[in-house]
């Protein structure tokens, strides 16, 4: 997004997307999206369902043709046959795609053959990957008999079997236990440390915090791209104040308070409210006019706040709470 990044040579990027547009009939799923992902980066992709995340990933994995724009993955562009592009990347799709009626070993053997993994190296690679992802069952177990978290582990192992430069993970932790999620992210960090690029989509904000940079998508457009800290700073340059009930404020206080000068927005946040000042000094002046029955403290904005502000459809100022 920044001029510095654009100046870099194409081959230097793990993923290089320029003006990518994907249309299905009249519907534009991805609308003029450009971004670059550095080698060894953990790149997060956030957005509501239908924002165009999966479509973008499918294009990058050679599964969909772009309607226009240019993409390069591992330095390889689009050709008639995308085998070059596909050979550099591993893909773990949203849906569980291994065969339930085959054993773990048979599934991996199948993937290995499709990915041209030398037969001699298969055993060693499997052993290394099983250790990496934490899979400790018998490899002759039918995949269908494994619990969800373990299926994800095997899926990841299958996606990594050919040592891809870049691995695309589309909501890899959807529907698995918090414990499995934590372990999964430990693996992702290990991969990045080893120099592999991880491109991941998620709905979990705590997972997004782990990413080096995050791209936010809305309605097929890329609306923000930065590090988690950068996103927060950019979205809330004057910080965030959390309001909490300490008594019983007057009915309609929030509407009146949000009209005051210096209030950028006031949004309900669970049983609390998040207030965004409109200037650096605004909160200093507003503090004195805080209605009775409310407590306030300055907090660090979370990614969820960023997500709500940038990705959720913007509401007109003052109509934040109804």
């Amino acid at each position: 997004m920044s001029p510095r990044q654009r100046a870099e040579p194409k081959a230097g990027w793990a993923v290089d997307v320029r003006h990518l547009t994907v249309r299905f009939g009249d519907f534009t799923a991805v609308d003029d999206v450009s971004f670059q992902v550095a080698k060894g980066e953990i790149f997060g992709f956030l957005g509501a369902n239908g924002a165009g995340k999966t479509t973008t990933i499918r294009v990058l994995c050679g599964l969909l043709l772009p309607s226009s724009g240019e993409i390069h993955v591992g330095g390889e562009g689009y050709h008639d046959d995308n085998s070059g592009l596909k050979s550099h990347s591993g893909y773990m799709s949203q849906k569980f795609t291994l065969y339930n009626d085959l054993t773990v070993a048979q599934n991996l053997e199948f993937t290995a053959a499709l990915r041209d993994v030398p037969v001699k190296e298969l055993e060693a690679r499997k052993e290394r990957l099983f250790k990496l992802v934490g899979f400790d069952r018998d490899e002759d177990t039918l995949v269908g008999a494994l619990p969800g978290g373990m299926k994800q582990q095997v899926s990841l192992a299958a996606a990594l079997l050919h040592n891809p430069q870049i691995v695309f993970l589309d909501e890899p932790t959807a529907g698995v236990s918090p414990d499995s999620r934590a372990r999964f992210w430990a693996v992702i960090r290990d991969l990045a440390k080893a120099g592999q690029t991880v491109f991941v989509t998620t709905h979990y904000m705590d997972e997004a915090e782990e990413c080096g940079r995050i791209a936010l998508m809305r309605d097929g457009k890329l609306v923000a791209l930065d590090s988690p800290a950068g996103l927060k700073k950019h979205a809330f340059p004057y910080g965030l104040v959390e309001l909490e009930l300490s008594g019983e404020p007057k009915e309609g206080w929030d509407k009146a308070f949000s009209q005051l000068p210096g209030v950028e927005s006031l949004k309900p946040h669970g049983r609390r409210w998040h207030l965004e000042p409109s200037t650096a000094r605004a909160w200093g002046q507003l503090k004195a006019r805080l209605p009775r029955g409310l407590k306030a403290h300055v907090i660090a904005p979370s990614l969820e706040d960023v997500f709500l502000k940038i990705v959720e459809p913007a509401k007109p100022k003052g109509a934040a709470h109804g």
């Binding site: 969909l64 085998s83 596909k86 291994l98 053997e109 199948f110 053959a113 177990t141």
Partner: protein, 393 residues
């Protein structure tokens, strides 16, 4: 509990799957091996491939018959003479009919559905035979069952006619001049055994249905499960996918060929006059054609149910009705006669019957073999070319 212990089919498949590595490139071989494992672990696929041939053989081999046997016929003998008794005896002795007592009204007999026909021998029959006249015998047929009626008419007519000739001869009169007497000699099936005709034909029906269905379903299933997405994210080419999908089903199809062949020879005693090598080659070509048809159907749909219905519509009707299985192609209207040329089952039918019954050689079967080979190349090529490698909805 989740330990997997292989069953008999699985062990058989494990022993034989090495062959895929010999004849196919690595990716296609891997796909074929995977597919073979699906087949042996899916009771539905296995059951269909075992039960459908057996069911068809039972149904067509034993239940459906094209010659009369113990057909119920009522006789109303109004003459009560020696001559009429002889006619009744001849009908009974022929083995084709089972005589039921008439209730007195020939029409009611047929109407009640008790019998297929009523034979009425009018009073004065013996006298008219004695005078050397043409005696009248009436037959009431159940026209609502057209097929049975014409069979009964033909056989009953024949039996009664010959009984009458014998009566004439017994009376020292010259045998009546029948307008035309056929001396029929059935080549290739001297015993006129319906099974000889039907059972080899069943091979065409069974393969034509199963093979189209199998490949159509297996591709649709991969789309439904989402595994096609994983498959296509690897550098596999459409050629590998088609080869890998077809190969294991060729094996399964040859298994069905063996079932029908053994049943035909051992159970129904159908002769096999031709070359077994040609039989294998013909079966192989037809398998390729039928499997490619299934793959072409799967290009059009990613839904198993739709694939099933399309296969049934596109494979079942032409195979059953227009392949010459039951209805001879020669007696179809011109349009259909020409139309059958594009239907693979029609050509395989010629090959199968030629090999089983006539002992035809490659010379006589050159046309059907050439047509099937061309179709195999064309359809496999079309399937490879049209196979979609992107997941666009």
């Amino acid at each position: 509990m989740d330990d997997h212990s292989p069953g008999i089919f699985e062990r058989l498949a494990t022993r034989t799957e090495g062959i895929f590595d010999l004849v196919l490139p690595r990716r296609a071989a891997a796909l074929a091996r995977k597919e073979a494992r699906h087949i042996v672990r899916d009771p539905y696929t296995l059951g269909m491939n075992l039960l459908l041939p057996l069911m068809m053989l039972l149904l067509f081999g034993f239940a459906i018959s094209f010659e009369p046997k113990d057909l119920a016929v009522a006789v109303l003998d109004q003459d009560h003479s020696q001559a009429s008794a002889k006619v009744v005896e001849a009908v009974q002795g022929s083995g084709f009919f089972k005589i039921q007592a008439s209730h007195g009204d020939p029409e009611k007999d047929v109407e009640s559905e008790r019998v297929k026909a009523t034979l009425v021998i009018p009073a004065g029959f013996q006298k008219s035979v004695g005078r050397g006249e043409d005696p009248q015998i009436q037959v009431m047929l159940d026209g609502s069952d057209n097929a049975a009626a014409s069979v009964v008419e033909g056989y009953l007519g024949g039996v009664v006619n010959s009984a009458w000739s014998r009566l004439q001869v017994e009376r020292g009169q010259p045998a009546p001049l029948e307008p035309l007497e056929f001396k029929t000699r059935y080549l290739f099936n001297p015993e006129q055994d319906g099974h000889w005709f039907i059972v080899p034909g069943l091979l065409v029906i069974i393969l034509g249905l199963l093979c189209v269905l199998m490949t159509a379903l297996t591709v649709a299933k991969e789309w439904e499960q989402g595994s096609m997405e994983l498959l296509l994210s690897t550098p596999i080419r459409p050629m590998d996918i088609i080869l890998g999908k077809v190969a294991p089903y060729v094996g399964l199809g040859l298994f069905d060929v063996a079932i029908v062949y053994v049943a035909a020879r051992v159970v129904f005693h159908v002769p096999f006059e031709g070359s077994h090598l040609l039989f294998m080659l013909g079966s192989f070509l037809f398998l390729l054609v039928a499997l490619s048809q299934g793959l072409l159907i799967s290009v059009g749909t990613r839904n198993q149910q739709v694939a099933f219905q399309l296969s049934m519509m596109l494979a079942m009707l032409p195979t059953m009705l227009l392949s010459g299985f039951i209805f001879p192609i020669e007696s179809m209207p011109l349009f259909f006669r020409i139309f059958t040329a594009v239907l693979p089952p029609r050509w395989f039918m010629t090959i199968v019957r030629g090999l089983f019954l006539k002992g035809s050689g490659l010379g006589q079967l050159a046309v059907p073999f050439t047509v099937l080979a061309l179709m195999a190349v064309l359809l496999t090529g079309l399937a490879i070319r049209n196979f979609k490698t992107d997941v666009e909805p």
